[in-house]
Amino acid sequence: MTELLWLIPLLPLLSAIVLMVLPQLSVKALPQSLIAVIGVGSVGSAMLLTLTLALSGGPYPIEQTLWTWMAVGGFTPGVAFYIDGLTLVMMSIITGVGFLIHVFSSEFMLGDHSYARYFAFLNLFVSAMLILVMADNLLLLFLGWEGVGVCSYFLVGFWYQQPDNGRAARKAFIVTRIGDTAMALGLLLLFSELGTLNIQGLGVAAAGQWQAGDTMPLIACLLLLGGAVGKSAQLPLQTWLPDAMAGPTPVSALIHAATMVTAGVYLIARTHELFLLAPTAMMVVALIGLATSLMAACSALVQHDIKRILAYSTISQIGYMFLALGVGAWASGIFHLMTHAFFKALLFLGSGAIIHCLHHEHNIFKMGGLRSRLPVVFWSFIFGSAALAALPLTSGFFSKDQILVQVFLHPQGGAWLWFGALVGALLTAIYSFRLVFVVFFGVANTEVDKKPGWAMAVPLSLLCMLAAVGGLFAIPVDNVFPAVSEHHPSIWVEVVSAAVPLLGLSIAYLLFLGKQWSLQPLLRRPLSQRLRYFWLNHWGLDALYDLILVRPYYSLANALSSEPIDRLYGAIVWVNQQLHGLLSRTQGGRVRSYIASMVLGLLLLIALSLYGGGEM
């Protein structure tokens, strides 16, 4: 099995190339069934290979060097794979959830003119993401990192005929690029300081060269964190993710919920040996995570576009993962990453099914009463939202509970972080069940015009199962991360952690389903209206960036577009042209004026020689 490792990223890559080239070669349009078989089949085979690898049981880590990428002086990064428990978890998520999303897409995108282009990019994405997690050095990881970024750009702007989609795609690309620049600087710094980019080698070299708390690991970790923050849509670079919902919904499920946006979490977990040397950077990670998760949860409370609610909830949940990483609960963070991939992909695919069946309606207040008419989707949302809200015994409960406990046990300000995370959990429960109650209960506002077919229903059902029981999986990362303390906090911490989501569920029930409480009087007050508007636009971050970054840049570009520096050279040209005009006027072609000027010159010379007194 180990010998076939290289096939796992290669299969989707080959399929992407085939799907890009084949439609150009064939005279008539390819049948969509063939495209779907190629596109889904490649990821399916990759999933089977990954499962075989996972079931073979090791021994881990498996290392495989395909070839040396380049050799410059002492710098010889290889195209080499390093498979340990962490990689295996990520690979299973990418190929497993990815495969289900591909199956779903084959029906969702049916009839689209660019069916082949869609699957080509989706396959390319899976391949790049696999390279990202399997890479044994940071340079190859960076290749995958940029690869998923560009695929995200292609797929967000998939329906590029609408200018807004193109704008969203550019925004996603440029904002993540800010983080990527920081990450590239981090790689350069690590290489110049430690002389290697091999991830295992980095850990060894850093431990030998640096002490915990030194400045150098702090700078390196903050630069890496910059990359992670951009990719994972955390404060302050999270503004691109809600706009990235312009892409097709399965894309949002795969890229902007399950896999790509968690790459930042993976990066930090992968380089945890560096972060352990920089306690300040870890505190920054935790604080960024907590702040982002609270901000995004507030925004999710007031959105009315179903995909934007899910986008903000994704930001918020990734904030939890960052919080877990920041307090050193590496395994819990990765565990939450996995369960989140299950239930968030489920929720996104469910919303995709609703949008598909409801004439591309996105506004939740125009839905309503879908419980009896789309039962598969209803149950998907019940399972998904329960897991998202971390109701007891769902997958999200196990992972979030672990995080909360670890946060509480953190020696520095653990209780405060824990309290913040609890508030986030409460908000999460409220907004996720607000979504369920508004969309599936009440009166129907829009007619359902089609039912989801089996290619939609089967992935939804499988993801339902995963969202329900995914919390029971044991992820094999014990050998990857340092052990966390087995110490348990007092029982009331656990009880409170478990009770808060139920409280949120009850509040959501009272507000949005039961008629006991009504939000209307509150909403009429100017202050709450302003707050609602503020949250709707995600704390005015977009407006702020527009004001301090985008608009100054535009005005600078405008000022430079008239080329002020070229004006100087233009002036030199102008002076020369005028002189030329003057001189050419003397060349009138008239013999008489030439004679006259000769005579004048002669007279002048004579006069000079007579009266000038000087030597001629």
Partner: protein, 104 residues
């Protein structure tokens, strides 16, 4: 040189006047034939100055120079008239201002 003794200065003055008249004619007239004639006048002014100077110093050089100028003038007229013919042929006029194709 008995009898008629004209001071050198007077002759030179006449030569200067002739030269100036020729030069003015050259600058003012537009007809190419008149311009050639003005040129002749200028040459003759120079020749007169030579002759007068030769007579004044009692040397033959002045007369020799006069002969030289006479032949130069003859050659110049031969070439000049050829040019006049060409100008007439090309521009259908003898106005030198019409022949301004070299205008910059």
């Amino acid at each position: 040189m008995e009898g008629l003794d004209i001071p050198l200065n007077h002759i030179l003055l006449v030569a200067c006047l002739l030269f100036a008249i020729g030069m003015l004619g050259l600058m003012i007239r537009r007809n190419i034939i008149f311009m050639l004639m003005s040129l002749e006048v200028m040459l003759n002014a120079a020749a007169l100055a030579f002759v007068a100077a030769g007579a004044h110093w009692g040397q033959a050089d002045g007369q020799i120079m006069f002969m030289l100028i006479l032949s130069v003038a003859a050659a110049e007229v031969a070439v000049g008239l050829g040019l006049v013919l060409q100008v007439q042929k090309r521009f259908k006029s003898l106005d030198m201002d019409d022949a301004n194709r070299m205008r910059g």
